[in-house]
Amino acid sequence: MNRKKTKDRNLSPDNYCKQDVYIPPSGEYIATSLVIALILNFLPLQENILIFRPDFVAITIIYWSVNYPYKMGMSIAFGMGLMMDVGNTAILGQHALAYCIAVYLTLILGRRLRIFSLTQQAPQMGLILLAMQIVIVLVAIASGAHLPGWQYFSATVTGILLWVPISVLLSTPLKQKSDFNAL
């Protein structure tokens, strides 16, 4: 994990050893996380809570794409998008396009993003989430829908707030318990 680098400016060998070591995620682990994210997205909610529900699938895809770009391809994002489209009764391809663009943005910006700490990453993820929502709105408008109110974009705000907890949650099982005095 490169993201710890800025935190430890005065990197001493002692501090370096105390850094957490993460093992790369297995394919099954990524798949499980995506399925759980899909289930969270499909939760039937009342309208006033629904408006604040972040797109868990998008956040999970972006997390894997930023930290392990070789594990999260655009084809997976496309497939997840199609599932979201059908579940969401949306136009087929709407979320797929948005997720692919999100993955593209993280592929370009990923190396830069990984330098920052999680809290610093959050607002930048917000921009990616916002770009994604704008794509979804544009496709809807192309099909003749009205412009949604500003409340529609509140999911981006909750997405920014949830970036740190979700990242911690996803990376915790990958943490390798290593005793640096073992050698």
Binding site: L38, E47, M74, L82, M83, T89, V139
Partner: protein, 291 residues
Amino acid sequence: MKTAPQFFRHGPGPFARLFVFALLSCLLIAEDLRFKYFPELRQAIGIVIFPLQKIAYIPTHIYDQIEELIASFYLLEENIKLRERYLKDREQLLKLHALEAENIQLRQLLGAIQQIETNTKAKAVLAEIMYTPRDPFNHKITLNKGSFHDIQLGQAVIDDKGIVGQITRLYPWSSEVTLLTDKNHSVPVQVLRNSLRSVVSGTGKNDELELRYLSVSTDIRQGDLLVTSGIGGVYPPGIPVATVLRIEQDPIDDFAQVISTPVAGVDRNRQVLILSLAQPIPNNSLEMPKN
């Protein structure tokens, strides 16, 4: 490049990949909006995600169970209340039966064709709302009954107050309902007060329907109840649809702008009724029944 070792091979660049997938998405969007060549694709994905939707529904189900358990403590009270209501409803139902019989008799006297089936005989299936989409531009909901439960395309969906929408997509174990408020959805209605016939259409906004092409001089007032007229055979006649909210009669326009609001509350209740089709849709709607 074949000689390059595995380590250096990355496939096409990000932009090239995005281009391919964006093109694919755009093709799918165009296909879904206009051509609709392969509805099977949506069906297949629908079957794949159904278990996930079912799992997502479990918390709500548990909540319902707990609520039922709590409610069971007040069963006696509720029973008395329901009995009272049943008696009241029964009285009205008896009146309805009498009116129905009278109506048939009068029609026979007039020599009219008995073509209007009253909605008292419509079969109904109880269904639960499994999912409401987050996007404000999808005026659709997913129900937990599908083609395996003998649900057909085009069936009307109502709640305790009035029409909710119509079934527009069928999956084996679930179905999609297009709500009244959808931009592409219209219901043939008549004003209850003076049986003026019209068609009410969704506007794509929540809680707003409009009556199109009513002339400025039409007799319609604020607060008028619009009920289904039964024309078209999809919706049984006499079910409340909307109440007129406001009328803008601008003399510059040829038509009055009549805005109404749906009677049924989709976001408030979790259970809805799926009505059977009032009559099978004829192949040629202009063809008169032989009698």
